[in-house]
Amino acid sequence: MPLSANAQLIARLFNEVAKGNGQVFWEHVHDDAVWRTIGTGSWSGTFKGKDSIINDIFRPLGRKLVSRQTDVTRIIDGGEVIVVQAKGKNLTHGGIAYDNDYCFVITMREGKIATYEEYCDTELIANVLGDRLSTWRPAEKKA
C-alpha cells in the first residue's frame, strides 16, 4: 500500500533537513505545535509553540553540537500519526560523539506537524549534552 501523504511529507522533511534545508521542516510545523521529549532531565518536558521549540530546544542544541545528522531507519505510517525510527550521528563542540537512537511519534493536522513526541536515550542526553539551561538564552528573534 502506498505511503499516506503525511508519511511521504515526513520522509521528505527528514531528507530536506539532511541536506541542510531546515527551513522546509519549520514551514511544516504549526505555530501552536507541541514538542515533548520524554523524561525529567533538563532536555525533557513539553514545549508549546514553534517559537518555544526553536528557542528552548533547537538553539541550545545547536550551541552544544558542531555537526548534526539524523538518519531515518523506519517509518510506520498511521495516516494521521507517523512513527519515525531514526539514528542520530552528532558531534559536540568538545569532540564527543552524541549518537542517540530515536523514535518520534508525530501527529499531523492539515498537512503540518501538530505534536512531536521524542523517545530517546535520556541517560545519554544527560551524560553527553549536560544541562540544557547552560546554553539556553532568553527568546531571540524568530528563526
Binding site: M1, I38, G39, T40, G41, S44, R74, I76, D77, G78, V81, V83, Q85, D101, Y102, C103, V105, E117, Y119, C120, D121, T122, E123, L124, I125, A126, N127
Partner: protein, 135 residues
C-alpha cells in the same frame, strides 16, 4: 479483524500478560528466534542490548522479583502498518527497596503470522538507571 488490528492486539497482549506477571502467556506470543532490543549504552545501562527469548525471560523474571506487586502497564496509543506496530505506554511499579518506577515507552514490534519477531524498546533510560542501578 484486519492483520494490523490483530497485530495491535498481540502487541498489547504481550504487555498485558507482563502486567499480570504471566510470563508464560507473554512468551507464548514470541517466535522462538525473536529478538528484543533494550535501549541504552551498555556501559551506563546494564540492561541494554539485544535479547533472545530465553535471556529476555530471565531479565523479566529478575524485574518482577524486584517489583513484587508487578508493573502496571497503561496503553496510550497503538499505530500499525504492514507487519509493524508502535505501542506507546507507561509502566508504574514499586521496587522492593521502596523506589518508585514510573517509566514511559514506545515499543516497536514486527509481528508476522501471529507471532512477535522483533521488538525495539525506547524508554526513559535516565529514570531506569536512577531507579534500578544508581547507588
Amino acid at each position: 479483524m484486519t492483520t494490523q488490528e490483530n497485530n495491535k492486539r498481540i502487541a498489547r497482549q504481550f504487555f498485558e500478560h507482563f502486567d499480570k506477571q504471566n510470563l508464560d502467556g507473554a512468551f507464548s506470543l514470541m517466535a522462538e528466534d525473536a529478538q528484543f532490543k533494550i535501549p541504552g549504552k551498555p556501559a551506563e545501562s546494564p540492561s541494554a542490548g539485544a535479547y533472545g527469548k530465553d535471556r529476555l525471560r530471565r531479565l523479566f523474571e529478575r524485574v518482577l522479583k524486584n517489583v513484587p506487586d508487578g508493573v502496571r502497564m497503561t496503553f496510550k496509543s497503538a499505530i500499525a502498518e504492514g507487519d509493524m506496530v508502535a505501542l506507546e505506554m507507561e509502566g508504574l511499579g514499586k521496587l522492593s527497596n521502596g523506589r518508585a518506577y514510573n517509566n514511559e515507552y514506545v515499543i516497536l514490534f514486527v509481528i508476522r503470522d501471529g507471532l512477535i519477531r522483533e521488538v525495539r524498546e525506547y524508554n526513559d533510560t535516565l529514570h531506569a538507571y536512577n531507579v534500578w542501578h544508581a547507588a
